[in-house]
Symmetry: C2
Subunit: 146 residues, 2 copies
DNA sequence: GGTATATGAATGCAATTGCATCTAAACGAT
DNA sequence: ATCGTTTAGATGCAATTGCATTCATATACC
């Protein structure tokens, strides 16, 4: 229980710091970064919205509209999908790439202040390990998971 | 950096699980629980919105409207503040208490599944310690921690 | 081939959030 | 007492989110 409360609070504080930093720098919100990063990683081949949806744990309608906005800003392009007539393919634009690059130092700086400065390298590593246990779908605690 | 990413993901997953559990049980969202708990702790004396605001890291306008909704549901009552003509005092109602009590097992169960089941007691304790470092306003990395 | 079901994505509408601004009361200095 | 400033809280309006539903194509079954 205490772990959950602190988890929530730590995340809330760090997230607010990051969003503020981006906002102050007149840059888009953090989710945009995540989307742009995923889309950029997909290169020319692009990525399907439903893949993005799963990668980012975003609700379908939510992603649909987020892509609307990012597209309207000119950071990604939607194209009809050849293999699947229902679907589409998202590709990043040059403008999108440049915005993502500009977001990175601001994002990284905020994380450094919110997390890096507060933990030693070993502590950060330990935290990564513990949090990793929470994100796996596995049961986890007992050895012989059935 | 990796620590932040995992922190965000772990929180997101756990939060979604909790909100879903509450939703499935036809109970109000998690913030309502937090508010009700704080207000209930203040007993008859009540609590001022601005205190709540600081305790919960909520934006002022956000809290104002959240209290509107919780009040409309009949779970808290607003009263003019005697000592400060600008302010008010929030008190929980019997209905509010009972709802908070009904929320607890659902909330606790979701946390147990999202966190408790994935970590041993020692691991959970270690996580509490590490996350605590992130929520202190202090710089933190150097050894002199309180 | 024809119909039922499942999947990818969009959308109407209500609820919530964020931003900026506003009101009123308290404080502080004259 | 009066004026400027700060603090507590509310609110108009735009943007975002959530829910339910819709549309269109793909797949499975017969």
């Amino acid at each position: 229980m205490r772990a959950w409360v602190r988890l929530a609070k730590a995340q809330q504080i760090a997230l607010a710091a990051i969003e503020n930093a981006l906002n102050d720098a007149d840059l888009p919100p953090l989710v945009w970064y995540d989307v742009l990063l995923e889309v950029e990683r997909a290169k020319e081949k692009g990525i399907r919205p439903f893949e993005l949806e799963r990668a980012m744990l975003l609700a379908q309608y939510n992603l649909s509209r987020l892509l609307d906005r990012i597209e309207r800003a000119g950071y990604v392009e939607r194209a009809a999908c050849v293999e699947d007539g229902r679907g589409q393919v998202i590709r990043i634009t040059e403008l999108g790439k440049s915005v993502r690059r500009r977001m990175w130092p601001v994002y990284a700086g905020a994380i450094e202040r919110a997390v890096g400065e507060k933990l030693s390298a070993n502590e950060a590593l330990a935290l990564v390990g513990l949090l990793g246990r929470l994100t796996t779908p596995e049961a986890g605690k007992s050895a012989g998971g059935a």
